[in-house]
């Protein structure tokens, strides 16, 4: 077995200190610093161009950092060429070798790492079984379904017991149902083998479902590094609040309280966890998750709310298990808000054009500096 988090004596699996990578004038990665303990599942979440894939390529060794220090298990990466790193990678387009069978693909890393040829067949069979491909070893990649190809790529990346597993958005091309299945599959295999994993994705759900820890990146910078629940409840940055979940921002001026002043109204809110609220008088944005906004009829205040505003229903979108309301606040300069009704069967629906009241509790509005 590989070292897990139960073995605290080993060096961190990955240690980045001020790692940067530029392409011409563009900083793809700007002074990234983090540590990843062995045995953990880390997801790097961000939109395309955020630098998350660059980070993965630096760790895999396909590119070298321009500045900063990057260590894998205590060893500086400069000392190890890519084919000598104990790093398995599942590529975005899988990159299975088309002229080899599934079993030959899985055997390839073992052959290249000069394992005893007598041990290889049994080990390949064990890993094909681990990814539930028993009996399909003789097929070529093009004879396998998308999900099966995915599993071959996973087995190939894990078969040589790498110290680190890298996932470069391998689930992005799959349809929704298969993607959810594979997310759980990755999680199961990762727990079974205890291999340290870095997963890169732009899919917030995937990040929350699969990871012990999530790093959110934007424009080459690390914005937040936290466990999924903290990330969800306590976004440290307006970008993080906007990227995760469905919600909206109210733009105004910070007031004492803390609160947000918009068009004469003062709406109570709170500071991000561990940070100061925007200074009174500065421009600020209040983040409100759609699932925290409650609706009541016009003139009424929804129960348990510290703030309320008249709203017009612009659209009511039926999403099966919930209804998403797109709202406009006429007394707040036409600002937009969203609300989610998780129990659409339980009460009457608000029709588009209806006048309602939108309310929320003080702690549900987090106040950020407007950049």
């Amino acid at each position: 077995m590989k070292p897990t988090s139960a073995a605290p004596s080993v060096a961190p699996a990955v240690e980045a200190e001020g790692v940067s990578r530029r392409y011409g004038d563009v900083a793809a990665l700007a002074e990234a610093s983090f540590r990843l303990e062995a045995g953990r599942f880390l997801t790097v979440l961000g939109p395309s161009g955020s630098g998350k894939s660059t980070l993965l390529r630096l760790i895999a060794g396909f590119e070298a950092p321009d500045a900063g220090r990057l260590r894998l298990y205590g060893r500086p990466v400069e000392a190890i060429p890519p084919h000598r790193r104990s790093v398995g990678m599942v590529f975005q387009r899988l990159a299975l070798f088309p002229h080899m069978t599934a079993a030959e693909n899985v055997a390839f890393p073992l052959r290249m790492r000069r394992w005893d040829a007598r041990d290889i067949p049994a080990r390949v069979a064990r890993f094909l079984s681990l990814v539930r491909l028993d009996g399909l070893g003789a097929r070529r990649p093009h004879e396998l379904s998308g999900g099966q190809q995915q599993r071959v790529a996973i087995a190939r990346a894990l078969v040589f017991e790498p110290e680190l597993l890298l996932l470069d958005e391998p689930l992005a091309a799959l349809d929704a149902k298969l993607r959810e299945e594979m997310q759980l599959e990755f999680r199961r295999i990762q727990r079974e083998l205890g291999v340290t994993t870095i997963n890169v994705t732009h899919d917030q759900r995937e990040a929350l479902v699969m990871s012990d820890r999530v790093i959110v990146m934007d424009q080459g910078r690390i914005l937040q590094d936290a466990d999924p629940e903290t990330l969800w409840r306590e976004p440290a940055h307006a970008f993080v609040a906007g990227f995760l979940g469905v919600g909206a921002f109210l733009d105004g001026v910070a007031a004492e309280g803390p609160a947000l002043a918009i068009a004469g109204a003062t709406l109570p809110g709170r500071a991000p966890a561990g940070r100061a609220a925007p200074a009174p008088g500065a421009r600020a944005r209040g983040s409100l998750r759609a699932d925290r906004v409650r609706l009541a009829g016009a003139g009424a205040t929804p129960a348990g709310c510290h703030a309320a505003a008249p709203a017009l229903v612009e659209d009511a979108i039926f999403e099966g298990d919930r209804i998403l309301y797109e709202l406009r606040l006429p007394t707040m300069g036409g600002a937009r808000l969203r609300a989610i009704d998780r129990d659409p069967g339980a009460h009457a629906r608000h029709a588009p054009g209806a006048a309602v009241t939108a309310g929320w509790a003080r702690d549900d509005m987090i106040l950020f500096d407007a950049d």
Binding site: A60, G61, F62, P82, H83, R84, R85, V87, G88, M89, F91, Q92, R93, A95, L96, F97, P98, H99, F108, P109, M112, R113, R156, A157, F160
Partner: protein
């Protein structure tokens, strides 16, 4: 679909025009008479019998096979390495090298032929068969490069990174991953080079002497004397051989590989 009939008429005329020479030769080869004529006089296979029993024709045919074999054997490593390098690695003056390698297409064959004749004469290589194969390789190499480049361009660049990630060094990656993945292009290019060398006429004409005539040159020499139907039979065999090679190419790798080159 207004004007559909017009398209089809033009297409049918073009196809008929392309096929006509081969069909005329094929028909003439079955004649029972003593001169080349179309439509043939009667039907017989006597001229095919004549072809098979002629030692001069058989010798010329074997020499043409040797030329084609030498050409293909040289073209496979040279064309494959050139195509992989040009398509894969961005290096200085890559475009200039690419143009240089395509140069044989822009030089009239008679020009390259005379150049090769002078060069081989200086090197005392005239009179042997294998230099003709080398010459055929030089003038047709762009076809080989195109065929392989089509395969390389269709290759996912991540494959080579995946190989490195699996622990393969640069040489292992090239031999075990890149090369097998471009094999369809190599096969296509090799078959094409073989056909082209088998059929190569103009440059061979300048490089061969009486002892080393290749089949196309032999046929040409013969028609300057008397045009007998055995030449039509030889030509028909040529056409069928080329058709068989194209068929094999399509079955092995598919002809659409030529449509994918850049």
């Amino acid at each position: 679909m207004r004007g559909g009939w017009l398209h089809w008429t033009v297409a049918a005329l073009a196809a008929a025009f392309l096929a006509a020479p081969s069909l005329v030769v094929l028909g003439a080869s079955f004649t029972a008479g003593n001169i080349v004529a179309f439509p043939p006089e009667g039907f017989s296979l006597r001229w095919y019998g004549q072809v098979l029993s002629s030692t001069a024709l058989r010798g010329a045919f074997l020499r043409s096979l040797e030329v084609a074999a030498v050409c293909t054997a040289v073209a496979i490593p040279a064309g494959t390495l050139a195509a992989v390098a040009l398509a894969r690695w961005r290096f200085r003056r890559a475009t200039a090298i690419q143009l240089y390698l395509l140069l044989p297409f822009t030089v009239p064959l008679i020009g390259s032929g005379i150049g090769l004749m002078l060069l081989f004469g200086e090197l005392r290589l005239l009179g042997a068969v294998w230099p003709v194969g080398l010459a055929a390789c030089v003038i047709n190499l762009p076809f080989m490069i195109w065929a392989v480049a089509a395969s390389v361009n269709g290759l996912d660049p991540e494959l080579e990174r995946a190989a490195a990630n699996c622990g393969a060094g640069p040489a292992q990656t090239f031999l075990l991953v890149t090369l097998p993945a471009v094999a369809p292009g190599v096969v296509a290019g090799a078959l094409l080079m073989f056909i082209l060398a088998l059929n190569e006429f103009l440059v061979s004409l300048l490089l061969v002497d009486a002892r080393t005539v290749t089949l196309p040159v032999h046929v040409y020499n013969s028609i300057r004397a008397v045009i007998t139907p055995d030449l039509a039979a030889v030509s028909s065999i040529f056409v069928l051989a080329a058709a068989a090679a194209i068929w094999a190419l399509d079955r092995l790798v598919g002809l659409d590989i030529f449509l994918k080159a850049k």
